[in-house]
């Protein structure tokens, strides 16, 4: 659990982060969204003390984050940034081993952990371990960056626009990978982005920041349904709202009784994908199948349209 209590950061006369308080539950993903200059990155960097706050307290699992020297604290917290920041003079395996080496793990343990992470990220340790970062594609570099952040099995992972430099297709894949890995390790993730789509997709909770202030901190559905201010509403994007709301729900939750013609859509797909498929093929209903391939029922345009409406 991460408790942020009344955190403020001032540079001379400018207040960058203004009295922000929030609690991030363990094993969840909190996404901080805001325009550039909103203070979201500064807030993130105060958690691992790359930036020291002017006032306020941040507690990690109940302990003040100032109870350790900054560098020791940072070794226990994962850190991944935009443009990944890989060390160009070190091989992929050496890059991933950075924090374990700083912590003084023995060689066998480091090698085992590096191999495990590379396999998890679909990078063959034999082939990619000895390569240098410039020999990898952008997507591979990003994966190595996240693997490096997770190397010392941190409970908390801080990510500053980690998918910012990726093209849309690779970004989607990277987001799915991160969600899967978060489930597997139960890591608490705090992710900074300016992309509301990404926030709705990734976040258990979303924190919206504007001019240093925390404007709203709530579940994605609530942010979409009840934006706390005009700013949040603009950020959500009025024309995108219904589709973002639909993207939060799974098809299995919108299943109605009955059957329909054509190829079945999996129950795990998002309701937004189902609506898109219906509109594109011009059909009123789609059959739905479970993970085992058995039919579950159908989804209809009418049913989905109702779900896309503003919740009461």
């Amino acid at each position: 659990m991460i408790e942020i209590e009344g955190i403020t950061k001032r540079y001379d006369a400018t207040t960058v982060v203004d009295d922000v308080s929030m609690v991030i539950e363990p094993r969840t993903i909190a996404v901080i969204v805001g325009t550039s200059g909103s203070g979201k990155t500064t807030l993130l960097r105060m958690i691992n003390r790359l930036v020291e706050p002017t006032s306020g307290i941040i507690k990690l699992d109940g302990a003040d984050n100032r109870s350790l020297p900054g560098y020791e604290l940072r070794r226990s917290i994962g850190y991944a940034i935009q443009g990944h920041g890989l060390f160009p003079h070190r091989t992929v395996a050496q890059n991933i081993a950075t924090v374990p080496v700083l912590l003084g793990w023995d060689k066998d343990r480091i090698k085992a952990r590096v191999d495990e992470l590379m396999t998890l990220y679909q990078l063959d340790p034999e082939a990619f371990g000895p390569r240098y970062p410039h020999e990898l594609s952008g997507g591979q570099q990003q994966r190595v960056g996240v693997a490096r952040a997770l190397a010392a099995e941190p409970n908390v992972l801080l990510m500053d626009e980690p998918f910012g430099a990726l093209d849309p297709i690779i970004r989607n894949k990277a987001q799915e990978d991160l969600l899967a890995i978060q489930k597997r390790f139960g890591t608490t993730i705090i992710l900074v982005t300016h992309d509301m789509e990404e926030a709705v997709h990734m976040g258990d909770k979303i924190a919206v920041m504007d001019a240093g202030k925390l404007v709203q901190y709530a579940k994605p559905a609530e942010i979409l349904a009840k934006p706390a201010s005009a700013f949040v509403e603009t950020l959500v994007g009025a024309s995108e709202r219904p589709f973002r709301l639909l993207s939060l729900g799974r098809v299995r939750d919108a299943v109605e009784k009955g059957s329909a013609e054509g190829e079945a859509i999996p129950g795990d797909a998002s309701q937004r994908d189902a609506l898109a498929e219906l509109l594109w093929t011009g059909r009123p209903a789609l059959p739905v199948k479970g993970a085992d391939g058995k039919p579950l029922g159908r989804v209809t345009v009418d049913g989905l349209v109702k779900r896309a409406a503003r919740p009461a």
Binding site: R74, Y79, G83, F87, T98, H134
Partner: protein, 387 residues
């Protein structure tokens, strides 16, 4: 039939034609200080040998002139250079009357221009071959070996520059080692002081402009003036600081030469350290901090290795510059190859000047090639990310 000219080859052919037919190949003098008489290739060599050299030069120039195979151009330049090197020795023996120890034969402008032309051709071929750094050092070693063998074989013994050498064999090596000690020692001192100073300038921004400006100003002081300026303070130190004189610190001699070379060396070392550290990718630095490296670990583990090729470039500049500048140290009694240069100027004996100048140029040239190779080898392994 499609005949195409090589751009550089046109120049090489033109200057070698002038050098072979219009310029003197060797100079003959009755003794070492009287004005010399020019001798063309055919006059300086026995008839058959002279004709052979002309044929070789013309053939090599023609190969250079047209677009030809790299291997052929390489062979042409090597054969021409080898022939010139061997035959200038033959000219020395041929022109010196039997038993005459006063007569002097030295290479003249035609010889030097031909050497220049075919070295240009060789350098062009080697560049186009795109040799690996190690191969370039190998070429350097082979050339040095060939020149060494020619010197040992005695085929150049009748050339004036070697006669000057034989008169001063002992002091030549003593001054040579003094020259190298001065150049390398001041470089070492500059690295020991300059690296930490550069790191400090990188970390403390307010210091940077000041330090670099002072070093810039030092760099613009003419070398002779700087030697002169150092005489007074070092003389004062020698007489007033106990033990200073015992360490060899005096107003003239090695001490001011060393200090001056050291001061000139600081700017390239400090400036390149600052530039190198500034060129470290910002994200790599941020990631290093964010993952819990201490400032020290970040400096030695990330910043320094990434800045290393740039710092090495600074050291290369300093080494080549110092080897040249150390010549002037002789002016204030600092020793080195400059001793022969200034003696030669004083006696209007150009061969003595060459005895000082040629080894200096060769040393600087070799140092540049070796350090360039080292820089390339370190830089390829640490190529900065392109993303």
């Amino acid at each position: 039939m499609n005949i195409r000219f090589d751009k550089l080859g046109v120049i090489i052919a033109a200057i070698s034609a002038y050098a072979a037919f219009a310029a003197p190949f060797a100079t003959f003098r009755a003794n070492r200080i009287v004005p010399g008489q020019a001798r063309s290739i055919l006059e300086a060599l026995p008839a058959i040998t002279g004709t052979l050299l002309l044929v070789i030069v013309v053939a090599a120039a023609l190969i250079a002139l047209f677009k030809t195979l790299l291997a052929l151009r390489l062979a042409a330049s090597v054969v021409a250079l080898a022939a010139l090197a061997l035959l200038i020795g033959v000219a020395g023996t041929f022109l010196t009357p039997e038993g005459n120890t006063f007569a002097r034969v030295s290479p003249a402008s035609g010889f030097w221009i031909l050497i220049f032309a075919f070295t240009l051709l060789l350098a062009d071929v080697l560049t186009r071959l795109n040799l690996s750094p190690l191969a370039r050092v190998g070429v350097l070693a082979v050339s040095a070996l060939a020149i060494g063998l020619l010197l040992i074989s005695g085929s150049w013994d009748n050339l004036s520059i070697l006669k000057e050498y034989f008169n001063r064999a002992d002091s030549f090596w003593a001054e040579g080692s003094k020259h190298v000690t001065l150049a390398l020692g001041s470089l070492l001192a500059a690295v020991v002081v300059g690296l930490p100073l550069g790191i400090l300038c990188h970390r403390v921004e307010s210091l940077r402009a000041g330090v670099l400006n002072v070093l810039n100003i030092i760099q613009t002081i003419p070398s002779i003036a700087l030697f002169g300026l150092l005489i007074a303070p070092l003389g004062w130190v020698a007489t007033h600081v106990p033990g200073a004189a015992a360490l060899g610190i005096r107003g003239i001699g090695t001490a001011p030469a060393f200090v001056a070379l050291f001061l000139y060396s600081l700017l390239p070392v400090v400036a390149n350290t600052v530039v190198g550290l500034a060129g470290v990718p910002r994200t790599a630095n941020d990631a290093a901090r964010g993952m819990g490296m201490t400032d020290r670990q970040r400096l030695f583990g990330v910043e320094f290795p990434l800045a290393f090729p740039v710092i090495l470039t600074g050291i290369r500049i300093v080494l080549v510059q110092n080897i040249g500048l150390a010549t002037i140290a002789a002016l204030i009694g600092g020793g080195g190859f400059g001793v022969f240069v200034f003696q030669g100027v004083g006696q209007t004996a150009m061969d003595l000047v060459l005895l000082g100048a040629v080894p200096t140029v060769a040393l600087a040239f070799a140092a540049a090639i070796i350090l360039d190779a080292v820089i390339e080898m370190t830089a390829t392994r640490r190529r900065v990310e392109t993303a």
